[in-house]
Symmetry: D2
């Protein structure tokens, strides 16, 4: 059923609430013999961590990940890996006043309607804090990928904040970690910085974003048609992230406006004796299977619903009220969605590398 | 693993190739006691059927669905329902010439790379013909939904062909079945008709499209966070359809450009004593759970890759070649994707109605 | 959920009722490139087929299996394989009289209680006819195993009919196919023959049996602890067969009476440089993983509930009645359970060969 | 894939090694609103806990279970429940000497062969310590069952130790908790006590056992044919427990020796207006669905392989050696398997109560 699990062979189950004692991921299916230490995972946790800069929630969590199982003498054993993150900075009082109120744009009302009970503290299970567990699972996946397909590189970045897009002619992967926005365009980053400062301080508002994640060096031939396609799993992976409202592969929604002549990537033999393509409208996936080109997925994150401006809502008793969310919130949750998207990409790629190994034993049809 | 299966409790597995003897869906988990006859399914098959009008492939398939199991004396028994569609019009000769050639934009090359063998006739398993089995499974789902949640209505339509969008001010559900494009805007339909005629006959080209599917009357409270969210499953459902490159829920990718004040739907009590919303940017889903508003999903279909214009490609031996696809193909595969999208929506909605019944027993938190 | 599916990577879903138009298995996860023709599967179907001898139901079904998908030019393509068996000899009239009566020992009453509706003809879905689909799926598995682990041999036989056991000192695999009982002990076979003739003709009774299935040549190291253990999957596989009431691995229930000194198989290095064991109380499985010894599973089949002697029961309206089952039934269903047990063993072994390939890539710890 | 998970809708994943920092169960699918506190689970943990009496390992573990998620203000929320048990008494030094040696009867050698690496301390993942996590998951299941089917009672007991069986005429459920063996026959308990004392102290040996678990008051109609049958899931549940070599439902292996007249339970209407049966050879399950009678499952546990007597084995380098297991071990692991068997029964019953609710909505066919 996998309601709280994701993946076929590399399969993780996340657990925990925003303000419970801890949260984490139970990772099943990591191959044995992979070198793994907490620090290898922590680097990715730190990238997502709140309080890192003024643009993200000031909640101060070390988000220290602990490995409780599945690793022996620095290597994975092939048994389940429990990754636990203790919640240390839980200012529950900040949330007491919304115990009986539904915050617009949040899952408070639907959780209440479905379950008849909810942990209202910080959104409980529906909090984006759940994504910390995904980043941990992704950190393990990255180490396993290194062992199986060392040429794979996974990189995420923001391409749009609000209506402000990057200029792809200025795109530079080296810039991504040089600013607070995982932005590959240094000039756009500066502009976003001023815009976000104004939004937060003066406009008491928030804004959405678009994140792009690329997997480079993925071998051709992984993916499992028809319902476990690589793009199907990537769409599920990204849409399952809090606040995501759209997912695109390659050309994405824009493919609708293209003609067949424009869209189909022509094929030729590359200098390396492998098939190459004239373009990558497909985003590296044909029929749910990788082509060997960059795998490109994009997703849109809606603006943070928790803002300092008053919004109309109702209480559990149905009476009208206004909600002005105090507490600590990101004016643009999209920023911290970047490492989360990278983590989900890593999990999907590893899962399909393992799955393909099981299904085909890695047979590949010869070309040329 | 469910590589060729979809769904949690209402779970179907599709099988079959474009030019094999038959294809179909093995449907598991349909509730017992649902009135079901072949004609109830056939009406949806006919909507997707090729050869219905000049804008879709002239392949002439009756696509007659046969129920081989799971139904007794006109009612479902709760056991697996086998839905078989025999292939009657298989002009394999049309495909002989591409046995050793990879068609650009198609999965020929990736299937070859993954499996080392492929049924090249009409794309074999990667052919959009597989979607006929989905439509059959969706037809069963519609009948089961009637029995469980009779107020649910599911409707799909095209909102864009190429760069040409509908005018939402002219949108009229009654128009949808009045034209060849499942278009809710009569004027747009006329325009599309001329455009597509020119594309096909004069430009020897094809074009993409955007389809929107709405589920109205879905009760609040269904959906299974965190990895079986209603929107997650809808994203997977739509992205798994051939040629789909993007999926949106509610505001979709455009949510990135909105601010929090613009985006969050405000809540009040409706006249029916149920919560109501000032808008539906969320597309009827919050935190993966239905709000009771219309559930709105949108997806982009790339232009048909098989066109009468020559495209550069390679043969299995790596030598360069040009491919001009003969055979019978839709200039806009998006048209026939409409009933497929409706079918997937029906399957996901039924699945979550059943799942919620199992998980919560249908408890609902009181409001007001 | 897999209510009607079995397996992890090699996963089949069976469908169909005893007296519907057809039944079959939808096989997902068979590796590509495996030579497969209907005749390779048919040989196993014939072994299970009714009407082969006077000890099995006289229902005369050719049980001809048709491959509807997943095979191209004599080889599997890695896509789903649909195996269909048409029902040709459906004497429904034989069953009309039990439409409103529950046959003792059958699932008539529980299907009615669970579903509120049932196809009463021949037991519908609960008929042992479903096992024909398993044998077909097992036939495919055997061919795939040949390609991956050619040394594996799978053999099933009856070790007990009623209270009459074979003499293991006379056990001879070559005898198994020389009698009507898949009995490895020629003398026991003779005795069983007379006993069964008397039971059927004079006593109007039926009897149970014990079947043993052995997999020889399975490499050490396959199996997936903790809940996908090789023995766990074998227990589920065999218990899911109609009329099975007990499953044993190696020593089985008798292990309870042993002491630790008697039970633990001692280990030494064999002449082939591989670990060898002084005995095989474990049945070839330790901790859910294969040891390289024979994998030995045993299961008990209860006596046929349909007998010519009157049994007390009730009608749907609760009134008392007596049931004397006419129609055509095996006095010992255990006989035809032999090829079914073999088929399930083949499916489990293949599944774990593929699974291990995916999980570990076939790493093996060196010994010696 | 669920390699380390069990269940359909009520689904738990266990994690952790014998000598790691902690182990536990990630429980998904518990219904919302169930009152749950650690003490409710702890009572069952204590029943399984080591060191309770001289017949079980003297390892002294409090086995205190902590709830880390899924519970708010004393009630389940419908989100994943993390149950963690910290390992406090890890005398790893006791195991250092077997780092390079394979203990006969243990999974040391197969884990090494499969994974190429193993946590040898106390058997690591293959240790029976994993069953503590099952008992925790079972404790949660018991509370959920109370809320859904309050009449259900689940009770396990030992019916045989070594060759010594209980006398069923003296069977008394009230005796079960009055002795160290969960034995329902007071006289047998005395006999077992002396026998086990001798085995341990004088014979330096161990012995097997048979455990029976009964679920009383389970409503008729739950179970999911064909591959999710109630008995199929029970067989998998019990066979997945460490050291189990056989599983029986109702008559079990003995059904083979019965005739149809003896075996089929006759049906009549009970005084309560419900169907009743003349006997329960079926063990409360027909066609994989509950009849409303007691559900009876039995399993055999092999004798502890770790004994103080020397056993022949090999080292990783293939050289011969003798193993005499020091450390703390139960002379009869079957004793502590009783609460584990109860826990697995509780999980399976809850899972099928939820599953049936989802599948059929609890429709029941009327009788009488």
């Amino acid at each position: 059923m996998s309601i709280n699990s994701f993946g076929h062979l590399y399969r993780f189950t996340t657990w925990g609430e925003s303000h419970g004692p801890a949260l984490g991921a139970t990772v099943d299916g990591c191959p044995p013999g992979v070198p793994l230490q907490e620090a290898m995972i922590q680097q990715w946790m730190d990238k997502r961590r709140p309080g890192l800069n003024k643009n993200t929630t000031q909640r101060n969590e070390p988000d220290a990940v602990k490995i409780l199982s599945g690793v022996f003498e620095g290597k994975t054993t092939g048994t389940p890996i429990q990754l636990m993150i203790e919640n240390t900075d839980q200012r529950s009082k900040d949330y007491g006043d919304i115990a009986n109120t539904f915050r617009p744009g949040h899952a408070d009302i639907t959780y209440h309607q479905k379950y008849g009970i909810r942990d209202y503290r910080g959104g409980g299970r529906s909090s984006a804090r759940e994504t910390a567990a995904r980043v941990a699972a992704g950190g393990v996946a990255r180490e396993a990928i290194k062992a199986i397909a060392p040429n794979v590189q996974i990189k995420g970045y923001m391409t749009q904040m609000g209506a402000k897009q990057i200029d792809r002619s200025r795109m530079d992967w080296d810039q991504i970690d040089q600013n607070d926005f995982f932005c590959p365009d240094a000039e756009a980053a500066k502009e976003w910085n001023d815009y976000l400062a104004w939004l937060r301080k003066d406009d008491h508002n928030s804004v959405g974003a678009i994140i792009e994640v690329v997997a480079r060096g993925v071998p051709a031939g992984i993916g499992a048609p028809v319902y476990g396609k690589l793009d199907t799993d990537l769409a599920a992976a990204m849409m399952s992230i809090n606040a995501v409202k759209g997912v695109e592969i390659g050309e994405g929604m824009a493919a609708a406006a293209l003609t067949g002549r424009e869209n189909a990537d022509e094929i030729f033999m590359g200098n390396d004796g492998q098939p190459a393509y004239s373009s990558n409208h497909a985003g590296g996936i044909l029929g749910g299977i990788s082509t060997g080109q960059d795998i490109v997925v994009r997703f849109a994150v809606k603006p943070t619903s928790s803002i300092l401006s008053p919004r109309k809502s109702i209480r559990m008793d149905g009476t009208p009220t206004e909600v002005t969310t105090k507490g600590r919130h990101d004016p643009c949750v999209g920023i911290r969605a970047v490492p989360v998207g990278e983590a989900m990409m890593a999990c999907v790629i590893l899962d399909h590398l393992l799955l393909d190994r099981g299904q085909t034993g890695g047979v590949r049809g010869k070309i040329g």
